[in-house]
């Protein structure tokens, strides 16, 4: 099974956060700055039709825009533009268009949650996987100049892919693909990206700057579906049904058949 990869889509707020961490993520100005400097795309606008009536619009972006915003923050404008170009190609391609069409049929809350990385039962996760594969293939290689081989090695070591292996009240462990080592994270970071459960796929990015480290947890997605287990509570396939299933189950339920009277002792 391959390592999980980053969730392929993001909100405009995620772009703004990557460009100005700690700032007002709802502010329009940072996004306009990125657009003006060719470091972000216009994203994909989806007219929501869930429930048979128009429910407004939602906009989402290729996650490569978040990488572009990060590069722009670090002054790497050439790389930012390259990432934005790759994002634009993805967003105008067939897979992202199919994703947009799928989103159009979902309720607004479901689309917002999905853009944020939540794996909802009603989500066509195979489409998201396809988008993640396409993103992985389209992402330009990192080309920043390093001052030494050690610096280069260090930079490359600071993107970790793994799955949540332990959960405690305030902390969580993520088991990393490759050497099976584990890293300890504050649990709220996982909660913030809807991966606050055992087996949750995540990508942990650590940016080093002199004596500071900025840790970002990105919702991940497994490109290879995990083997199915009917007793795994986190496997959403168990509760995801088709619309035909829901049609057949509509109406009053038949009474349960209980042939043997039983008394339950607590």
């Amino acid at each position: 099974m391959r390592a999980p990869v980053e969730w392929p889509i993001a909100s405009r707020e995620a772009l703004v956060r990557a460009f100005q961490p700690g700032g007002d993520e709802t502010s329009e100005a940072p996004y306009r700055t990125l657009r003006r400097n060719h470091c972000a795309t216009e994203g994909l606008s989806v007219r929501l039709r869930g429930g048979g009536r128009l429910q407004g619009q939602v906009r989402f972006f290729s996650r490569l825009n978040v990488r572009a915003a990060e590069c722009a923050r670090l002054g790497r404008f050439e790389q930012a533009a390259e990432l934005a170009d790759a994002a634009r190609e993805l967003e105008t391609g067939e897979i992202f268009q199919r994703l947009a069409d799928h989103f159009a049929e979902l309720p607004r809350d479901a689309v917002t949650a999905t853009v944020a990385g939540e794996l909802l039962p009603e989500l066509n996760v195979n489409l998201v996987r396809a988008a993640a594969e396409a993103t992985r293939a389209a992402e330009p290689p990192r080309t920043e100049a390093y001052h030494s081989p050690v610096e280069q090695a260090l930079a490359q070591m600071l993107i970790h892919h793994g799955h949540v292996s332990e959960l405690h009240l305030h902390t969580a462990r993520v088991r990393l693909r490759g050497d099976n080592s584990e890293i300890l994270l504050p649990r709220p970071l996982l909660h913030g990206v809807h991966r606050d459960y055992l087996g949750g796929p995540v990508v942990v990015r650590t940016e080093l700057s002199r004596n500071r480290a900025m840790v970002e947890v990105v919702p991940g997605i497994d490109l290879d579906p995990a083997p199915y287990s009917p007793v795994d509570r986190t496997d959403r396939r168990t509760v995801a049904i088709t619309e035909e299933d829901a049609d057949r189950l509509s109406g009053t339920a038949a009474p349960l058949f209980v042939p043997v009277p039983v008394v339950i002792h607590e």
């Binding site: 429930g51 009603e122 009917p230 007793v231 829901a246 109406g251 339920a253 038949a254 349960l256």
Partner: protein, 142 residues
């Protein structure tokens, strides 16, 4: 299976689903069988939600598999009745629908579930697994 079921039922992260693990024991305290169920709503692609109880486990100790009590009643009938009675007693009620996911080769379990009214077959959650549920009233033949 009993130990795994108890661990499953006592998982502090699953409290919201109200997991239950009814145990069937003999007067001698010998464990006959264990069931496990919890609230697990089904969700359709268009957002529709079907409140339901999921039967996770119906299992028997080796010495009780296929056996009957002195009264002639099948042990499986007693345990299934206990599970369904327990489901019906939960508050808020979740006995509107009961479903189970079973490997397609587990014909024995599928037969028991069918005997207890889980006769409607839904789409498969994964290859090799069948998902059966109690039907809508309109689907039940008189």
């Amino acid at each position: 299976m009993c130990h795994d079921s108890l661990s499953w039922g006592l998982d502090p992260h699953a409290v919201a689903a109200d997991p239950r693990v009814p145990l069937l024991t003999a007067p001698s305290d010998e464990l006959i069988g264990v069931a496990a169920h919890e609230h697990a709503a089904l969700v359709a692609a268009d957002g529709r939600r079907i409140e339901a109880a999921k039967l996770y486990v119906i299992a028997f100790s080796l010495s009780w598999q296929g056996r009957r009590f002195e009264s002639g009643t099948r042990a499986s009938d007693v345990l299934m009745s206990a599970a369904l009675t327990d489901i019906s007693a939960r508050r808020p009620p979740r006995d509107a629908r009961v479903y189970a996911v079973v490997h397609e080769k587990n014909l024995c379990s599928l037969a028991v579930l069918r005997r207890f009214g889980l006769t409607e077959e839904m789409s498969r959650p994964a290859e090799s697994y069948r998902r059966v549920i109690s039907p809508a009233l309109s689907s039940v033949r008189p």
